[in-house]
Amino acid sequence: MFEALTGRLEGIFQKLRGRGLLTEENIREGLREVRLALLEADVHFTVVKQFVERVRERAVGQEVLKSLTPGQQVVKIVHEELIGLLGVNHVPLAFAQQPPTLIFLVGLQGSGKTTTAGKLALWCREKGRSPLLVAADVQRPAAAAQLATLGEQLKVPVLTPKPGAKPVEIAREGLSRARKQAHDVVLVDTAGRLHIDPDLMAELKEMAAALRPHEVLLVADAMTGQDAVNSATAFHGGVGLTGIILTKMDGDARGGAALSIRAVTGQAIKFIGVGEKLDRLEAFHPERIASRILGMGDVLSLVEKAQQAVELENAERLARRIREDKFTLDDFRLQLQQVKRMGSLEQIMEMIPGFKKLKGVQPDERELVKVQAIIDSMTAEERRDIAVINSSRKRRIAMGSGTQAHDVNRLLKQFTETKRLMRQISRAGPQGLGKMFPGLRGS
C-alpha cells in the first residue's frame, strides 16, 4: 500500500546505500514497487505507465546525493513527479468580475454533490460572500429537500424548484433571483448522472451552453477505481470542467483517482471533502497530498489544523503550567479535548513524520474515551493533586467511570510519566515543546 511505499523502497535500495549512480538496472525493482503501489492506490493503468516512465527517465544517470540513500532519492523523484502531476500550486475558485459567479456541481450519483454544495456555500460565506443555493436535481427523490435542509442549517437561502420545472429553467431562475437579492455566488446542485446517459448528459450540455457558468466542478469520490478516467473524460468532453472536488478523503482510500482525473482533464483539484460536517472542506494542496501519499507526513496541515482548534489562550496557559511544573489532570483533560476537536487521533498521527514508524502504536479512540471518563469521575481536588488518591478513592473513581482499578492506576502512572517527560522537554527549550504540541508554536 501507499503508506508503506517509502519503507519498501528503503528495503530494496538498502544494498546500494549511499554510493554511485542510479542505473536502469538498480532501480528496476524499485520502480516495480512504485508501479504496484500506484495501481494498488487505484491510479489508472495508463497514467501509472506514463508516470513510472517519467520517473525512470529522470532517475537513470542521477548521482545519489551524499545526504540521501538511493531509496530516499527515488522517493524524492517520485514525490516531485507526483506534485508535478497533481498541479504545482493551489488553484482557487474563479470568481466572476461581474457578479454573480455561477458555479455548477456535476458528477456521478452518490459522489457527494449535494453535501459539497452545502460545504461550498459555507466556505463562500466565510470568505465574505453571499451565496445562493439552487436545487436543480429533479431526479433523485427528496434531493431538493436535502439541499433545503442544509440551507436552513447554514442560514443560506435555497431556491427549490416548482414541480415539473426543467433544470435549465431552475438554474436561470437562480441567476435572476441572485441579481435581485444581491447574491454574488450561485451554487447549482445538479442531478447525479452516468457519464454514458445520453439524455442526461445532453441536458447538462444544454444548461452549460445556455447559462455559461464560470465554474463547472466535477465532484468525484476519492474511493473511485479505474473508471474515474472514463467518467471524468466524458464530463470534461461534455460540459468542459474547470475544476475538481474530491470527496470522502477522510476514509482510508489512497485517492489515486485524484491523479487519474487530473491527468485526463488537466483541471485543478480545488477542494477535498474530509468529513460529514459542513465545515469539513479543505483547499487542495498538491504537495501535502503527495507527501501524505508517500508516508512522509503532512506537518504543514497539522500545524494549521492545530492552530485553528487550539485557542491560543489555553495554549499559553498550558505552556506556563508546564514550565512551572503545575500541569494537572485538569490540563491533561483540556489537552485531550483539544486533540479530539482537531480530528480523529489516527488522522493526526498520520500527519506526524515518524509516528507511523512506531509499529504497534495503534491510536485507540476507545482508550481516549476511557481516560476522559476516569478523569471526569474524579473530584476537583483529586484532579489538582493526584497524591491524595488513595485506594478507596481509586475504587470509587473506577466505579464511577465504569472501569477497573487497574485502569485508574495505569492512567495515574502514565500521567506522572508524561509530566516528567514534559519537564524534561521544557528544560530543553521551546523547540522541544513545540514538537509535542504544534499549537504551542510562538507561545
Partner: protein
Amino acid sequence: MALAFLDRWKQGLAKTRQNLQSRLDWLRGVAGRRLDQELLEELEEALILADVGPQTAGNIVARLQEKAAREGIREACDLKEILRRILVEILSQGVPAPGPCPQAPRVIMVVGVNGVGKTTTIGKLAKRWVDEGSAVLLAAGDTFRAAAIEQLEIWGERARAQVVKHQSGADPAAVIYDALQAAKARGSQVVLADTAGRLHTKMNLMEELKKIKRVMGQVVPTAPHEVLLILDATTGQNAVSQVRLFHEAIGVTGLVVTKLDGTAKGGILLRIVDEFRLPVHYVGVGESPDDLREFDPEAFADSIL
C-alpha cells in the same frame, strides 16, 4: 427462462457502445494470435482496468499461464476461454446458497459507505417484494443525512410499503426498535432497515451499527436475518477495506453491487469473493426496480473480459 434472463443481463451491460466495441476489438485483435508474453500482459492489463487489483490480476494470470501450459494451449482465443473459466470459478464462490426461510418478520439490515445507493436499493427491493405479494415495512434508520427520511418515504409510496420513521436526528436504534415492534404487530413479512452511510474507518459510527444490531435482536431474537453491505461498482481497491471493516464490526451476510450500468466493471468483487467468501445477493444494472438482478458469475466474468 435462464437464457432469456441471460439476454436481458447482457443487454443491460451492453448499454454502452464502448463496452461492446472494446470486446469486439479485443477479439478481432487476438484472432490468430498466439500465446506470448505480450498477450499475457494485455490480459493482465484488462483485469487491472476492471479494478481486479494488481496483485489479484497477477495471481490470475499466473494461474492462467500454468493452466495453459498443462493443457497445451497456444491460441489466444482458447486462452481467453480458460481465463473466463478461472474467473467464473472464483466468482462462483459468491453465489448465495438457498437457505431456510426464516419466520416472519424477516429483518434485513442495509449498510454501506456514503453514496453507494443504500436507500435506492431498499426502494427497489421493496417494490419487487411488494409486487410479489409480500407485506414489506421500511425502517427509516438514516436519521443523519438531511432528507434521507423523505427519500425513503417517497420510495415507500412508490413501492406501496409502509415506512416507520422518527424525526431527523433521532437515535437510529430507537427508530429500528419501533419499526420491528410495528412489523410484529402488523404481521409484516419483511423489514428493510435503512442506515446512514458511514465510512468504515469511523469507529464511533461502526459502534452505532453494533448497537442497532443488538436492538434488533431484542425485538426479534433471530434478527437481523441478513446484513447486506452495499458496494458501489465504481469503487476501486478501497472496497476490500470496506468489506473487511464492516464485516469485523457487524458480521456482513451478503453483498449487493450497485451502479454496474456505467462503464465500471466492479472487478474488485473477484478479490472480495475470494477473500471473504461472502455471497453476492444482487447486482444493480440500471434505474428501474427490475434492474436489480440476481448475481450470475458467468455474466459477470463476461463483462470483465
